[in-house]
Amino acid sequence: MTDHTAIHTEGLTKHYGDVRALVDLDLDVTAGEVFGFLGPNGAGKTTMIRTLLDEIRPTAGRATILGLDTHDSSVEIRRHIGYVPGDLAMYPNLTGKDTLTYFANLRGGVDWVYVAELADRLDADLSKKVGDLSSGNRQKVGLIQAFMNRPDVLVMDEPSSGLDPLVQREFQTMMRQVVAEGRTVFLSSHTLSEVQRVADRVGIIRHGALIALEAVADLRSRAMRRVELEFAAPVEASVFEAVPGVRDVSVENHHVVMSFDGNMGTLLTTAAARYQVVDINTHEADLEDIFLTYYRDEGGATA
């Protein structure tokens, strides 16, 4: 752990009875980065975040934010963070403005000019009661609430749920601006395109354990290409599986799809030697392909 560490966990473990929601999680999030926290439903993302916020207490291990223990110094930490809970709920009888005033008062005041700017950027209506807003518009109030005190660390659990694409884009710009100022964003998500666009690094969690931790750029360069081949006649998967660098072959009659990080010449020679190639389509793998690959592999190993 260094001075540049925004969030640090060591051996973080949480059990609910027999259910192991978090298993021995070690993680460092560096100040000034957007950290994408990925995982399927029920993997432990929300448990991790609720532990960081001291809503729940770890069974073992500890976590720090800005060098402060999340339990012992929880109140001090909360002066420096902004938080968007997953499945956001607010007080239905308060207007957006009232809601923000309430939280601002608990924080000893905020810069209302900045709040107005945030509301303008997200196109949020603060005059209506929260209970009368659609879930996307309610989410905007939750986002403003998290950004408004210019926190050093933003912790957000599925923050863009319900937002329309335009607002999502603006929200992503806001996140990049936060890290440009040297502040930190911890973003739990399964909107992969969003993580791909804004995150510097990603951690992938499954069954409560961290199974991968990489820079988005590395992940993409390592993970190769998607290759689709179309043939004149039905083909067999085994032919392609034998080629070095081929993974995840799926054959459907005349059509083959695979992930590939080997020599393209070898692949094409092998294919052309056995069958007549009709069409080739290949593109750089996106995070979704990588994500699916990880889960298929790890799933097979741990399930």
Binding site: L53, I56, R57, P85, A89, N105, G142, Q145
Partner: protein, 554 residues
């Protein structure tokens, strides 16, 4: 009717119903066994006219009084409260929880859903009534008590129909408005007001017929325990149920369903009006959300203002002048009764022929503790568990405030609101006493109001502690209500038995009643016990809340 909606509703609600009915059954047994040891010579010396008034037919042991004391008031109130909780939750509760859309996405009409839920309510109340009836038959058999000509079955049948009436009332209000809080509040209000209106108007000469305007009249005016089922009165209640059912069906079909209950308050209207916007904005926009304590107090302004207003106007101001109108015959009879029996009728341990006895019997015996407990428990049970149930606790705790500070601010709001009810009661009784020329010492009125307030804080503190331990509203509220019911009855019954009398010191109610504050002024020691108990419960809440994982859902 939809069998699965019926089954699910019954399964969600059976536990509360079982606990309520089971407690009443145990209380009846307990009460009857205590009465059995009661000095019989007192009973024999009662004049016939009194024996008829206190519901003891020929050939019945004194222990038969337990029916009236336990079932007649507490049983009827408990079953009616259970029914109205189910009625208000039926449609409006699903809207509040946001589940109504999912439910109605199935091929089921609104009417069918409503009817199925109403049927589940009636079925559960029927089961509870059968439990009461069973305990009513078994207890005297086990205790070897002669029950002569009492009609416990008729009493239980009246309790059943009466409870269904209040359940249907809550169902109708909820179905018409979609507001569960309004539905349970309105039905509870009608129930409590009519219970005491009937009690008061029946003893005021010239006003007896006014009592017939209140539904509770048709529950007990015919004395079903003595006279059997009063079919005329039952018919009135059933006709009421039918009208309410029609209103409910029409109401739920006529309007747009809600996804979340957003009430429009007076302040909202003022904010919408350009003339008053500035002031209203300051009130609602800045003051209301300035602190956790102020916001909490503001959220419960409705129940506090209604309860406070009722205590002030109805149980305070109105009661004083009425003293001069009471039928003297009734007062004479109450003078003849032994103190213990009067206690059991919720009239305090004295006769009602003096101004102090009158106020003690009508206002401070049962109503004042109910009012103080109601506000304390509503605020206390929702203080922490309410934020968890609504999933706002995480957001609140993301701010730099400690759990301790949140709890203390919520407890402060609860204290403020219960004190408001105490002050309203004090002012009402003081004015009522002046208007009626009753000459009760202001210091004594203050004393009983202080003890009543502290009692409300003790049970509010208990609800807070249960909420802090579980994070769930319903167990906190019903736990505290149940404890209040059992301890109140225990405080009334235990003194009847010499060897057990000392035990009543262990109920908080002892410190409210024993010093007879309206007659004797404040017993500082008793006030200190109640205040200490309330403070201890808040301290326990703090310990429980600080070390627990927050619930994600209520």
């Amino acid at each position: 009717m939809l069998a699965n909606v019926f089954t699910k509703t019954a399964r969600d609600r059976w536990r509360g119903t079982a606990i309520g009915a089971g407690s009443l059954a145990l209380l009846l047994y307990f009460g009857m066994s205590l009465y059995r040891q009661f000095d019989l010579s007192v009973y024999d010396s009662l004049p016939d006219v009194v024996r008829s008034i206190i519901n003891l037919p020929e050939g019945t042991d004194v222990a038969g009084l337990a029916y009236g004391a336990i079932y007649g008031t507490y049983g009827a109130l408990t079953l009616a409260a259970l029914a109205l909780a189910m009625g208000s939750g039926a449609i409006a509760g699903e809207e509040r929880d946001g589940t109504i859309g999912l439910l109605l996405a199935n091929p089921a009409s609104r009417t069918k859903v409503l009817v199925s839920k109403a049927a589940a309510m009636v079925a559960l109340i029927a089961v509870a009534s059968i439990v009461l009836w069973g305990a009513g038959v078994l207890s005297p058999a086990l205790l070897d008590v002669a029950i002569g000509g009492t009609h416990v079955g008729a009493l239980v049948f009246h309790i059943f129909v009466n409870a269904v009436f209040y359940g249907m009332l809550a169902l109708a209000v909820g179905a018409w408005t979609g507001n569960a809080g309004l539905a349970s509040g309105a039905a509870t209000g009608v129930m409590v007001v009519s219970l005491f209106a009937v009690g008061i108007f029946q003893v005021v000469s010239g006003w007896e017929n006014v009592a017939k305007a209140f539904p509770w009249y048709y529950f007990d005016a015919g004395s079903p325990l003595i006279n059997g089922v009063a079919w005329g009165h039952i018919a009135v209640l059933l006709a009421g149920c039918t009208v309410l059912a029609v209103v409910a069906v029409a109401g739920v079909n006529r309007r747009d369903l809600k996804t979340q209950t957003v009430g429009v308050t007076l302040v909202d209207r003022l904010r919408a009006n350009p003339m008053t916007r500035k002031v209203a904005d300051r009130l609602a926009g800045s003051t209301r959300v300035s602190r956790i304590s102020v916001k909490t107090a503001s959220e419960h302004q409705g129940v506090t203002l209604v309860t406070g207003a009722l205590m002030f106007a109805y149980m305070g101001v109105l009661i004083g002048p009425l003293y001069n109108l009471i039928d003297p015959g009734v007062l004479d009879f109450s003078g003849d009764l032994p103190d213990e029996l009067m206690t059991l009728f919720g009239m305090g341990d004295g006769d009602m022929s003096t101004p102090v006895g009158w106020y003690r019997g009508e206002t401070f015996g049962l109503v004042a503790p109910i009012a103080a407990l109601l506000v304390g428990i509503v605020v206390g049970s929702r203080a922490l568990a309410g934020e968890e149930a609504r999933r706002t606790m995480g957001l609140l705790l993301a701010n730099p405030v400690s759990r301790t500070s949140i709890l203390l601010q919520k407890a402060a709001a609860m204290t403020l609101l219960v004190i408001t009810v105490g002050v309203a009661t004090f002012s009402g009784v003081t004015i009522g006493s002046l208007l009626g020329g009753l000459d009760i010492g202001v210091a004594n009125i203050a004393a009983v109001s202080v003890l009543m307030t502290l009692l409300g804080l003790v049970f509010g503190g208990l609800a807070l502690a249960l909420g802090a331990a579980t994070g769930r509203v319903r167990p906190a509220a019903f736990g505290a209500i149940g404890a209040g019911l059992v301890l109140h009855v225990a405080n009334a019954l235990l003194p009847l038995n010499e060897s057990l009398a000392g035990l009543s010191r262990f109920t908080p109610f002892h410190y409210y009643t024993a010093s007879d504050p309206l007659a004797n002024g404040l017993d500082w020691g008793h006030a200190a016990v109640l205040a200490g108990l309330a403070a201890a419960l808040i301290a326990v809440s703090m310990a429980l809340f600080r070390r627990r994982d927050l619930c994600q859902k209520g």
